[in-house]
């Protein structure tokens, strides 16, 4: 692919003096005004020169293994990078070229299975990683071509359905269509070799983390250059208006297929890392739930943004892990829950005086309710805080936790949902005042119901977080809001 060639030395305006300059400054001034309207955090970050930002970003990420234990590095670090890589790949077809690809996970699965076949005792083949990775990536790109060829004339919903079918067909194929055959059926392929570069084997989580980090940096760098190239801009125009792109002479079909191939190659690479790291591949690793997660990462990070994919992956993976029932430190989930509540209050409520009233009011309200309930019926506050941890001392004196919450927690949960709906209907001070008991109710529900059932909870909290975020920023964290043509 050729780089688009810069148009840098833009010719001076001919007849500058003669030309009346209409409204230039209006718009420029307005653009600056808008920048000023952004939050202090965003402005501070934006003021740091780009190269320094990049160096700090890379430095922090590469030093993470010295801070985290192997378990935490695996959970929070490695999987954030894996999700970020997948989202970067998906972002090429969906974010850049506007092709709604729901079969993306098949490329990830293909990469994992292809590596497992090329480097495991299953067929007695043990390829070195420096050969296997390029071969798998080219293979995945070729699979992207195969999907792209028949789909290139499909648009929107039709493309989504065909690719969804493709993704499902992949799972069925590896799972059942060839029992004990090529892919090992439901048992998958075990004992996959670790990545082995010229004799150096990646064995620890740290190794994998660093390797994945390098892959991530290479991919994000490459995608940056592509997105700024002629091809990248052609993809964007294709996404905006395929017909206009076509009458500019763009080879629309070839561009679409290229987008599929790029995304597929990145997914193939990620699949290889995944298979080698967990030393096995199983059909369940590539089902629809991971597709949904990747879409969530991409939408949260902001369609078309590159670094947004990392941020989206970090937010989703870390919160998902904190809420997970298998997390060795479940009290972190509680921290996440309360921090999220406070963040929403701080981010969505203005003026500041109201924020202060809500937060202070909630704290006071809690102690008051606790004291009253305790005086009336001591057993109603004698329950233990599930999944203790640093917050549990405070919580046991603040939230009402009955010894046997019974059905009351479930009613409270339904009540909470109703209360939140009511909150959306009222405005101003009334909303701020009403928020106080609702926040307390949320705490009650969390302590008595949600923290006891992490599997359900993480989905609920996760969904609520996504809804709240997307309502606040429909374009995602780092996406640019759409400009509608008049």
């Amino acid at each position: 692919m050729e780089h688009g060639g810069e148009i840098s030395p833009v010719p001076a305006t001919p007849g500058d003096a003669a030309h009346t300059r209409i409204g230039v400054d209006d718009w420029v001034a307005e653009a600056e005004e808008r920048q000023r309207g952004r939050g202090p955090l965003v402005r501070t970050v934006a003021a740091i020169p780009r190269p320094i930002q990049i160096v700090v970003f890379i430095a922090v990420l590469s030093l993470l293994p010295f801070v985290f234990s192997e378990g935490n590095l695996f959970r929070y670090g490695l999987f954030t990078l894996i999700y970020a890589l997948l989202a970067l790949g998906l972002n090429v077809s969906v974010g850049f070229a506007g092709l709604l690809d729901l079969g993306f996970i098949a490329f990830y699965g293909f990469g994992a299975y292809a590596y497992a076949i090329l480097a495991s005792p299953k067929y007695g083949i043990h390829w070195q990683a420096e050969i296997a990775i390029p071969v798998v990536m080219v293979g995945a790109a070729f699979l992207g071509l195969l999907l792209g060829l028949p789909s290139r004339r499909l648009l929107g919903d039709y493309l989504a359905i065909v690719t969804l079918f493709f993704g499902q067909a992949f799972v069925v194929f590896v799972n059942a269509a060839n029992p004990k055959g090529l892919t090992g059926g439901a048992n998958g392929i075990a004992n996959v070799d670790p990545l082995n570069f010229f004799g150096f084997k990646l064995t620890t989580t740290r190794h994998y983390y660093w390797f994945t980090l390098i892959a991530f940096l290479l991919v994000i760098g490459a995608l940056y250059f592509i997105s700024e190239s002629r091809t990248g801009r052609a993809w964007r125009s294709l996404r905006e208006d395929p017909l206009a792109a076509e009458v500019m002479g763009m080879p629309v079909n070839r561009l679409k297929i290229m987008a599929f191939m790029f995304g597929a190659a990145i997914a193939g690479l990620t699949g290889t890392i995944f298979a080698a790291n967990q030393t096995g591949v199983f059909p369940g690793d590539f089902d629809i739930s991971i597709l949904i997660t990747i879409y969530a990462v991409m939408i949260l990070g902001g369609l078309g943004s590159l670094i947004g994919m990392f941020i989206g992956a970090a937010v989703i993976n870390v919160s998902y892990e904190l809420l997970s029932g298998s997390n060795p430190n479940p009290s972190l989930g509680r921290w996440l829950f309360y921090l999220a509540l406070i963040t929403v209050v701080i981010a969505r409520i203005r003026p500041w005086i109201r924020v202060a009233v809500v937060l202070a009011g909630t704290v006071a309200f809690g102690f008051a309710v606790h004291a009253i309930v305790h005086a009336l019926e001591p057993s109603a506050t004698s329950g233990a805080v599930t999944n203790g941890g640093s917050l549990s001392g405070v919580m046991s004196h603040w939230t009402v936790i009955p010894a046997h919450s019974g059905a009351s927690a479930k009613y409270a949960y339904v009540g909470l949902v109703a209360a939140v709906l009511v909150l959306t209907l009222i405005k101003g001070w009334w909303r701020a005042i009403a928020l106080i008991p609702v926040l307390y109710l949320a705490s009650f529900v969390w302590e008595n119901l949600l923290s006891e059932q992490p599997a359900v909870t993480r989905l609920i909290v996760f969904g609520a977080m996504l809804i709240a975020l997307m309502a606040a920023r429909p374009q995602g964290l780092l996406g640019t809001s759409r400009v509608e043509i008049a």
Binding site: I7, V10, W27, R233, I485
Partner: protein, 236 residues
């Protein structure tokens, strides 16, 4: 010799017969208007010329070559460009990027720089606003971007689909001045319009379509005088 020639073209959308035995040509450097009411097939004619729809029978010839079976990108590369109906700019991209997309097929950097200079000379406004997002421009400004974008590919023939649509009368006049200017630079044009009076006043020749058939053709001056056309389109 004519630059563009449609010979006995019959275009269908599914089973609906739209263009019926349409024959039309545009000479080198000529400015031709294609007139007609709503749904008379004007846009369909342009789509047929670009290869966005293929005629069932008949031929499209450009610069002495039969391009009937050729892809759109091939025809663009041969020197056809279009300012589409409603302009269809790439809204979230800057003016500069929009222009760059117009020169998509022109790969060599030097030629492209000249194209930018040429377009900026014609529209100093575009240079001034090159970093503004196209979607944030006013309708008249967008029209300039659309023309600039089309001219970036250095076309021999420029197709324009209703350039006056959605513009205030003063801007309509301005936009026809620009059309004339581009024409004087030697670009042949086929201008589709409903505003027959305006279109004919700057054209060399004109064609009038009604329900997919040619009903009138001739030198612009003659058409302006034509009783039937006046009744049908000029409203006087």
């Amino acid at each position: 010799m004519s630059l563009l020639r449609l010979a006995g073209v019959n275009t269908y959308y599914g089973e609906i017969h739209i263009l019926q035995n349409l024959t039309l040509d545009v000479g080198e450097g000529e400015l031709v208007s294609l007139l007609g009411g709503n749904a008379s097939g004007k846009s369909t004619t342009l789509k047929t010329i670009l290869g966005l729809v293929r005629p069932r029978t008949g031929a499209v010839e450009f610069a002495g070559e039969d391009v009937t079976q050729r892809a759109t990108s091939y025809r663009i590369a041969r020197g056809i460009a279009i300012v589409p109906e409603n302009r269809r700019l790439f809204a979230p991209m800057t003016v500069l990027e929009n222009l760059e997309m117009g020169a998509y097929l022109n790969r060599d950097g030097k030629g492209r720089k000249e194209d930018f200079e040429r377009v900026y000379t014609l529209f100093p406004f575009l240079h001034e606003r090159r970093h503004q997002l196209a979607g944030t421009l006013s309708g008249g400004e967008q029209q300039m971007v659309a023309m600039g974008r089309a001219l970036m590919s250095h076309p021999k023939l420029l197709l324009m689909d209703e350039p006056s649509m959605g513009l205030a009368p003063i801007l309509v006049e301005r936009s026809f001045e620009i059309i004339q200017q581009v024409h004087q630079a030697g670009v042949a044009m086929l201008v589709v319009e409903q505003n027959a009076n305006m279109a004919l006043s700057i054209a060399d020749r004109g064609y009038v379509l009604a329900t997919g058939r040619l009903v009138l053709e001739g030198p612009a001056k003659q058409l302006l005088e034509d009783e039937g056309l006046r009744k049908a389109y000029l409203g006087r």
